[in-house]
Chain length 266, copies 2
């Protein structure tokens, strides 16, 4: 059964998509089979993995999976990275956000689709993914709730800035509420510090506060601010493919290895 | 009648809150009366203006204003900046996002509250604000829709990064749809390039693309990436108060002056 990790933080611009793309690529490069699910109507993870948001091509996407109109197998697309697939998203996904139908079961659409996918893979004797990474939008709406209900654990990218720190306790509270009412297994898998610049006082203060608040949950490896990371998406490539040897790529490889160590220690 | 400007962009972390706080402060410092409205449940604009998100103190906030349970005069609070007030927000505001009541009139709650405020100020012979700046959350949900229905125009902070550029046409389309169906006056007042670093190729590419796409709508003054800007919120102060002479403060003063010139040219 695949390990499902939601990459979530309601604060905007903290590196959720960048982490989903590059952590996924690093895990695939060390042999894991990775399925990325783009749960953000902005579709940044789809673009960053080189999969066009082609609304015209009308291939099934995350919207159809959540509505039960397509299976994950029908919606997933290969990427240029071996062992990594993605279920792409586009602006149509906003239809789910606006759907006034607040049936409780709506929160479990993604969980149900993933469970059906695991069953179908076994029946067809196909490989299931070993990791599913879900890129969440910057909010705590029905899309992020779907991710938290489908996930085994949450990875929290945290930008080393004041406003990002301010939102952390709200996110942790929300994860606890989902665990109490909707998904009893859900835990915080870890917090990854992003856009980390050790020379800046603000980064040092935020890092000190977060480690005091969440202790061992905070990864020892951090992701530095690195311009190559932000250039890679304009080429539709993960930074590990765009420039394997830059500081950003090396950092995501170190974080992927730490993730595996943490998973093994489960 | 106050000029109402929504500061909106569904892409996260592009500098919406930073622009609302610092553009507001710069306008107040050159004599304008500014009312900031925090429309984001994260409450970052409230914190950055030194107004606690005190849920315990139970003072009225943006939620009560949208539900018609408090007037703007009851909810607005002074800040340390002369001529600048803020209607604070806190996490309770999420209740509006989840409200399944999709009555059309819900989109006009903020517009109606602002109109009532202008009428009440006239009756009581009090000064109305000359500018209202609305800080929007990173989405195109009912809260941002309220801002777009209440606003005369939209200021778009645009981070000089690939994913931010990708979302621009969606935002422009949404503004046009709101103009066609909900608010016939709505226009794009201008695009302000944020976290601009002229030495980076990515910044140059994004700036070139945006100026080709939106021409004169793009402000000639840009906001540089400046660490002092990101340090100021941890002191509950706008950067103009925290460090008047840093590059960030000077840039927001230049942008405020350009805003006034553009408004006069209307
Ligand atoms: N370590 C880094 N160094 C430099 N730039 C980075 C880094 N991580 C992310 N970025 C850039 O910062 C911006 C924000 O990152 P990203 O879009 O991944 O955040 P997000 O949390 O997914 O945003 P949203 O809340 O809109 O979904 C992007 O333009 C990205 O390229
Ligand atoms: N010009 C700048 N230079 C350096 N840092 C900046 C600049 N503008 C904003 N920041 C920092 O970048 C982060 C994102 O900015 P901000 O929170 O204002 O964006 P936002 O669009 O309001 O985010 P959200 O989408 O979560 O509402 C903040 O930590 C802020 O302090
Ligand atoms: Mg993202
Ligand atoms: Mg903000």
């Amino acid at each position: 059964k695949p390990r499902v990790l939601a990459i979530a933080n309601q604060k905007g611009g903290v590196g959720k998509t960048t982490t989903a793309i590059n952590l996924g690529t690093a895990l695939a490069s060390i042999g894991e089979r990775v399925l990325a699910i783009d749960l953000d109507p902005q579709g940044n993870a789809s673009t960053g993995l080189g999969v066009p948001k082609s609304i015209e091509a009308r291939t099934p996407s995350t919207l159809e999976v959540l509505l039960g109109e397509a299976t994950i197998a029908q919606a997933e697309q290969p990427t240029t990275i071996e062992r990594m697939h993605v279920v792409p998203a586009n602006i149509d996904l906003m239809a789910v956000e606006r759907d006034p139908n607040t049936r409780q079961s709506r929160n479990f659409a993604l969980r149900d689709a993933l469970q059906a996918h695991a069953v179908a893979c076994e029946r067809d004797e196909r490989d299931t993914p070993t990791y599913v990474l879900i890129d969440c939008p910057p909010s705590l709406n029905v899309l992020t709730l779907n991710a938290l209900c489908a996930a085994d654990a949450v990875i929290v990218p945290l930008q080393c800035e004041f406003f990002a720190l301010e939102g952390l306790s709200l996110l942790v509270d929300t994860i606890e509420q989902v665990r109490d009412h909707l998904n009893p297994n859900l835990t915080v898998q870890g917090v990854i510090l992003t856009m980390h610049d050790g020379r800046q006082v603000l980064t040092q203060q935020v890092e000190e506060d977060v480690r005091a608040f969440l202790g061992k949950k905070v990864y020892s490896n951090t992701i530095p601010r690195n311009v190559t990371i932000s250039e890679a998406p304009s080429h539709g490539l993960p930074v590990l493919v765009y420039d394997m040897h830059c500081k950003g790529s090396q950092a995501y490889i170190a974080v992927a290895k730490e993730l595996i160590r943490r998973e093994r220690g489960l």
